[in-house]
């Protein structure tokens, strides 16, 4: 047994592999690489243009025209960084604009939805992936079919229903449905869980775990990549969601960031500089989330077979 650790190294005779420096490549490959990077740089600059334009607009003083005949893509003249502070504190806007309040409200909705989605979809996905029960296939197809129904078609009946519940004006209609699961995420989670070897279930069963323990201790921890994907998507959708909150929320104290931003736009005298500053601020949380979830997310999207 002593030799067990040593055994795997016995194999092909060792060859000394010459180590090339990263930069010492053949000229043709170098040319290819340089042109590749140039193309990528051009593409990223192109994608960043609107953001640059927004930043430029956000840094302008009040009443300075924003929509100039020749678009100014990058900030050059004005550097009114205090505009961001004005947005955060809500000063200098003609109407009350509690941006921090909106952010907190949105966070409440987002967190509620993520919780709801993770709990409901992982349970249902597990059931479809692992439990054998009569009609499971039919149920699964029904679930898939519901993905074809656009939300807009459900909007009115759902509104009437929640109105009758007395939930109008509260966050409940925006959070509770997520606890009922979402077909798309259930599908993703089920597909992912199916790739987890069944031998693990068997081993766990022999070890004395019941179905719930198998879910909680084995399958769920192994599903973190797909759960991350679901959580991040839920975050993005709810962060950006305008129509839902617009339908159900009537009190400005409960507004979300998306409504807040939209409410800044008027027929005339829209404070474009503050509007753009607020917009830029509102995309910070998604960027932060992406930054932290990036590694899990890329692995997750790749293993889930899903393209962003």
């Amino acid at each position: 047994m002593r030799t067990v650790e040593a055994a795997p190294t016995v194999g092909a005779p060792r060859r000394v592999v010459p180590r090339h420096s990263k930069w010492r490549v053949r000229p043709r490959r170098l040319l290819f690489r340089v042109s590749m990077y140039l193309v990528l740089l051009a593409l990223s600059a192109f994608i960043l243009l609107p953001a640059g334009w927004m930043l430029n607009a956000a840094l302008k003083p009040d009443l300075e025209p924003v929509f100039t005949p020749n678009p100014q893509w990058w900030p050059t003249h004005f550097w009114h960084w205090e505009n961001f502070g004005r947005v955060l504190t809500g000063t200098g806007v003609n109407e009350p604009f509690p941006f921090l309040r909106y952010t907190i409200n949105t966070t409440v909705i987002v967190v509620g939805n993520i919780l709801g989605i993770l709990i409901s979809c992982s349970l249902v996905g597990f059931a479809f992936a692992r439990l054998r029960f009569r009609g499971s296939k039919v149920l699964f197809y029904v679930l898939i079919v519901t993905m074809l129904i656009p939300w807009q078609a459900l909007m009115v009946p759902q509104f009437l229903m929640f109105f009758k519940f007395g939930w109008y004006g509260s966050y409940l209609p925006l959070i509770v449905p997520s606890f009922g699961g979402l077909a798309f995420f259930i599908f993703l989670i089920r597909q992912y869980m199916r790739t987890i070897p069944r031998d693990l279930d068997d081993a766990a069963r022999v070890d004395g775990l019941n179905t719930w323990q198998i879910f909680w201790r084995i399958i769920l921890p192994l599903s973190t990549p797909v759960l991350t994907v679901c959580a991040v998507f839920t975050f993005l959708w709810n962060w950006n969601n305008l129509l839902g909150p617009l339908l159900y929320l009537d009190n400005q104290d409960k507004f979300t960031v998306a409504i807040g931003l939209a409410s800044l736009v008027h027929r005339s005298d829209t404070p474009w500089n503050l509007m753009m500053a607020a917009n830029l601020l509102s995309i910070v949380p998604p960027i932060v989330v992406y930054f932290f979830a990036q590694k899990k997310l890329i692995g997750g999207i790749a293993s889930v077979g899903l393209k962003g």
Partner: protein
């Protein structure tokens, strides 16, 4: 530890396939029984039924006097080692081994003690903090063993635990498993398709084919007295040579004739196997193990009746022995058993068998001493140890020896010995 008894255990899958057909088997307390057979013979299904991972269609399974048919795997108190180890990837080695104890609410100190004890036995102490993906195949295998050991279960169930290891490591782990099994006096069912593993590990070896238990015996008895064609062909490497032959009687002596060859059957054999007298004149199957033939020029002194001459097609030198391949001008045995054996080795082998049948020629292998000078395309005189000839009924495939040694007989009789 406890004994395990299977009584008339049958498994019919939803699609109607009968994977296991009325298996009677007894695993005495502290013994290791190997279930061996070609892939798809139902051996793994038997094991999974004992573990509780498959429902039992008919029959009963007892673990230590307790009928466990309706018990969940967790309640059966058995531990299983899986072919691909099935370690929990997100847990450390320690956590992998401790999980079942945690579930069974074993006290923390006791749990820690048992895990460390198992780690010591398996030399895993250094690895307790690692995750399975950081381990080599052999180490993973040991962790899987450890997970079973810490449980201190009624029985161990092992499903081809060594098949994912390379050949050298397999030999080491085989010895390791045997050592642990003996140390712990653990009742063990060990499933494998590798007959070497079966022969070296088992106190008793149970050979299965098509869901039916063919024979349960000690490795030596399986080898010396195979109950039927399937066992005869499955146990032994190279496999037993089998050919269609006819028994003839002349001057009060029996001869086995096949093609141009004729071997005298010694009186001792006839006396031991009275069924042979009744088989005279009928076609039957003659089996000769490769190791029961020898180059007559090297080992002289055999009477002419125990000789056959052949042209060597191929000579393989193995160092300690040499294999001589040659062809016999008699039809090969084509029955359900021999077809199963051939298809287990590959579809080409099955096709070859059918072709040989059509030209009535049977390939033979003789395992001779390397001192034999015979070369390819040369004629060789082989002396056959006729005391070790095997005879089988060509219709039923059963051994013709008067005492039908079926699985049922074994289960009832042999363990009491």
């Amino acid at each position: 530890m406890a004994e395990i008894v299977l009584g008339g255990v049958t498994k019919v899958f939803r699609d109607g396939t009968k994977a296991v057909n009325s298996v009677d088997l007894e695993i005495p307390d502290g013994k290791l029984v190997v279930l061996v057979g070609p892939s798809g013979c139902g051996k793994t299904t038997v094991l999974r039924m004992v573990a509780g991972l498959e429902d039992i269609t008919e029959g009963g399974i007892w673990i230590g006097d307790r009928l466990v048919n309706d018990r969940s795997p967790g309640e059966r108190d058995v531990a299983m080692v899986f072919q691909n180890y099935a370690l929990y990837p997100h847990m450390t080695v320690y956590q992998n081994m401790a999980l079942s104890l945690k579930i069974h609410k074993v006290k923390r100190e006791e749990m820690d003690r048992r895990v460390r004890e198992a780690a010591r036995i398996l030399r895993l102490e250094e690895l307790l903090g690692k995750r399975p993906r950081e381990l080599s195949g052999g180490q993973r295998q040991r962790v899987a063993m450890g997970r079973a050991i810490v449980r201190q279960p009624q029985a161990f169930l092992m499903d081809e635990p060594l098949s994912n290891l390379d050949a050298k490591l397999r030999v080491e782990m085989r010895a390791e498993i045997l050592r642990i099994q003996k140390d712990l006096q653990a009742t063990t069912i060990y499933v494998t398709h590798d007959q070497t593993e079966a022969m070296t590990l088992g106190d008793r070896v149970a050979v299965m084919n098509r869901g039916i238990l063919q024979q349960v015996d000690s490795p030596q008895t399986l080898y010396r007295r195979p109950a039927n064609l399937f066992v005869a062909g499955f146990i032994g490497s190279p496999a037993m040579n089998m050919v269609e032959a006819t028994l003839t009687a002349a001057n009060g002596e029996l001869f086995a004739e096949f093609g141009s060859h004729r071997l005298r059957v010694p009186e001792t054999v006839v006396a031991e196997q009275p069924g042979l007298q009744r088989a005279v004149g009928r076609p039957l199957v003659l089996g000769i193990r490769p190791e029961d033939m020898e180059d007559a020029s090297v080992v002289p002194g055999q009477p002419a009746q125990g000789r056959m001459s052949a042209i060597v097609d191929l000579r393989e030198d193995m160092g300690a022995e040499a294999y001589l391949h040659f062809t016999v001008d008699a039809p090969p045995v084509v029955t359900e058993d021999t077809r199963d054996l051939a298809s287990d080795r590959g579809t080409e082998v099955l096709e070859a068998l059918e072709e040989q049948a059509s030209i009535r020629s049977t390939p033979f292998i003789a395992r001779v001493t390397p001192e034999s000078r015979v070369r390819e395309a040369e004629k060789v005189e082989l002396s056959v140890d006729t005391r070790k000839l095997h005879f089988f009924d060509i219709e039923t495939g059963e051994a013709i020896d008067g005492t039908r040694r079926t699985a049922a007989v074994d289960a009832a009789g042999l363990y009491s010995a």
